[in-house]
Symmetry: C2
Subunit: 295 residues, 2 copies
Amino acid sequence: MTDFSAWIQACQARVESVLAERLPAAQIAPQRLHEAMRYAVLGGGKRVRPLLAFAAGEVTGADPNRVQHAAAAVELIHAYSLVHDDMPAMDDDALRRGKPTVHVEFDEATALLVGDALQSLAFDILASQPLADDAATQLAMVQLLAQAAGSRGMAGGQAIDLASVGKPLDLAELEFMHIHKTGALIRASVLLGAQCGAAADASVAALDRYAKCIGLAFQVVDDVLDAEASTATLGKTAGKDAANNKPTYVSLLGATRARELALELRADAHAALAQLGAPAARLRQLADFVVERTF
Amino acid sequence: MTDFSAWIQACQARVESVLAERLPAAQIAPQRLHEAMRYAVLGGGKRVRPLLAFAAGEVTGADPNRVQHAAAAVELIHAYSLVHDDMPAMDDDALRRGKPTVHVEFDEATALLVGDALQSLAFDILASQPLADDAATQLAMVQLLAQAAGSRGMAGGQAIDLASVGKPLDLAELEFMHIHKTGALIRASVLLGAQCGAAADASVAALDRYAKCIGLAFQVVDDVLDAEASTATLGKTAGKDAANNKPTYVSLLGATRARELALELRADAHAALAQLGAPAARLRQLADFVVERTF
């Protein structure tokens, strides 16, 4: 195992442990809701957003014992969005992370409440213990996550996505959608990780540029994988975008140019990190990981 | 107009103004989502939770310019819960505050995202400017609201409610459900309003007792009104509980005993306030208002 894959596994184990501890036990009432919340969150996913938070924390010398809570919060926002997106009123998907989706395994009402309660838990965790050098910074972190999740961030991106099905989007419109839908939370993951340490203004600006590139690269690769990989490999239904007539980087650019674009975005992400030196090593590796992943 | 009704109108106007300002304009992308968010929140409702926050703020000498933001935050959590509750997967209701529900006026996917984004906005507002004497207290306020909204508060109460349809509940089980479903957010409204000022431990304990009584009283009266008032008066579908075979205080106790219980809870609420003296006058009036309301 390389040093990088050991680091990934250690970060994943850390965030899994915080999530397992902070999600109420399935024995606590209301039991079915808590069981479904744990089903939705635990034991799956690449944990890309937590990994970004841990890696950004290394840039600012943040204590991983702080970062792990910010990482859990962003992962909970991500997990809630998947539960709601998979519901019949949205993407109507039956498979997620290799398992039946929450509304299939439980029921629609439970899936709705699971998403709602996971969002609340994210803010509970982000506010619940000292994660930054002062409480005012931590309040700003709560605000950052709330805006990244909200109507001008992730939820807004979902709305733009819904409105775009079957419509011809150009590249700028597609980018606008993804900057909201996935980019906002990826940016929040990077910045929240950094804010657990002593984030200087200059490094925040560099991290912001990095996050924008990596968020788009992530989506471009997602589109390529959706078009080319199998459902078994992805753990979610492959080929959904084409089946739903959704505009993607592949449908707009073709797979070859989309793969080139991902590599360009990786180069831009690396360039953004240049000034940050050695402490940004994990962020560089994660840029490679996001672009080279096959699942 | 009495002094009390003038105070109510002033508080309602204040919170309406904060909500109108903080909800993104319907001209901002994604337009349809923002239009639906404003539709769900503005121009309706009694604003009971904001009123409780303002009244509790008077006990601790809180500046209403602070309290209005906490009031807006609790109202947004309440509004999001109504949007999701009305959806077909939950109560499947077509009428709310005298208007078509969000999923009827817009569509189900939009209703789902409206609720999600309103919850995020609540935390954004609660974290976004100084609302307490120090940032650590304000972080504790974020945590309080997150727990009140989450799986061991309001969302958990919804889950208990869903699980109870068609089942014989006893009075203790019914109370357990309501303490979560409506009580948690009412308690948060009172405590958040108080925490905008200088809340002493003794007054917090008294306010907590008051909030528990008033939360249950509110629900008992709701049940009586659902059984006895008309859809036109309520602005929402009347008689739903009986139609859905839901256990209520009226179905368990009969309407006469339920009305008596509401009066007893009001007396308990007044008793809890005894030590707080004159500054608790508005909370006393609100206890009367909640029990004597006809809509």
